[in-house]
Symmetry: C2
Subunit: 206 residues, 2 copies
């Protein structure tokens, strides 16, 4: 049997999507969670000097979305045809662009910068949200599955919804103007096996 170890911080961050995939697929894995000191001690040993890292029978794979895509492809949550997989990847990359755009807000809320949270919310979060969420809503409106692509739930739904949980933790009204997005979020979070995982996972803000 393949031995999987996922190394990350205590938080959900960009790695919980991979934990969720293991739970959805019912595949065992070692869920290694580091505190800051433990991370710093091992930082130089990681392939890109950062986490998450997935270790597959000794081979280390870095980068959260590369890890998630690898697991999603193995477990059947990355689209059903090459074209659908490309669309899933497109949503993930659009999310990565959104995430880069809101970097200053995110890092402020995590306490990594001295910027003003309210100001960053107005300046970067709201404009980025009002560009990103309508794109998702457009695709959801024509989806046959209620998820981003027609064949069902994928790691694109998981990562975007989980990041939204963080944004809503910081600002409960984050998606109030987008009822169809909130309905989709409920659909994802109530998905069989995922719901049980979410209910018992450690509660963290981010």
């Amino acid at each position: 049997m393949v031995h999987y170890k996922l190394t990350y911080f205590l938080s959900r961050g960009l790695a919980d999507v991979s934990r969720q995939l293991f739970h959805l697929a019912g595949v065992e894995f070692e869920d290694e969670r580091l505190n800051r000191d433990q991370f710093l001690e091992r930082k130089e040993s990681f392939p890109f000097k950062q986490v998450p890292v997935l270790t597959v029978d000794g081979l280390e794979i870095p980068q959260s979305m590369a890890i998630a895509r690898y697991l999603a492809t193995k477990f059947g949550f990355a689209g059903k045809t090459p074209e659908e997989s490309a669309l899933v990847d497109a949503f993930v990359d659009q999310f990565k662009d959104f995430y880069a755009e809101i970097h200053d807000y995110f890092y402020t809320m995590l306490g990594f910068t001295q910027l003003d949270g309210e100001e960053q919310k107005e300046k970067v979060l709201i404009p980025a949200r009002d560009k990103f969420l309508p794109l998702l809503a457009k695709f959801l409106a024509k989806s046959k599955s209620g998820f981003l692509v027609d064949s069902g739930i994928t790691f694109a739904d998981l990562i975007i919804v989980d990041d939204m949980t963080t944004l809503i933790n910081w600002w409960p009204q984050y998606a109030d103007g987008y009822p169809e997005i909130l309905a989709w979020r409920e659909r994802v979070m109530n998905y069989p096996k995922l719901k049980e995982y979410i209910e018992k996972r450690p509660v963290t803000m981010a």
Copy 2:
């Protein structure tokens, strides 16, 4: 026969990697290049209101790396095993993070901001380079192929090298402290079929 159309600007940007994949594979495609006015006229009609867009028999796929991964997977330039493909994806995502980090330098050089190019070079480009290039060098040093992964050239080599061409156009000394990176760049640019394509493609700064 599948009809492919790649829609982008006149420049290389983040789409030339996909043009390169078509040339490497010897597969015909419609190379649609828009000027700014043509783009603005059609902007609202694109899936994510941006280019590149790859149209495959009428289906539109947005996002440059999603497009490149789709083509690379079809044409055999995305790694030879699931684990190698994950590593390729990790390099691509690391590149996307690097690209996000140097955003202010990049957009200044493109003339999209009023910031000072020299200042942005010192402030964002050099620190990001000194984080990114050593990671690549470490993998290249142990690669069996001379490319980022053991089995040979992939779209990760193509995208990172092509972006490096832009950075060197703006600052010829960009990679002078990294001889092994420059040697790898030569290896990629002299790869059969790619060399001929690069020699005849339109010359653009970015």
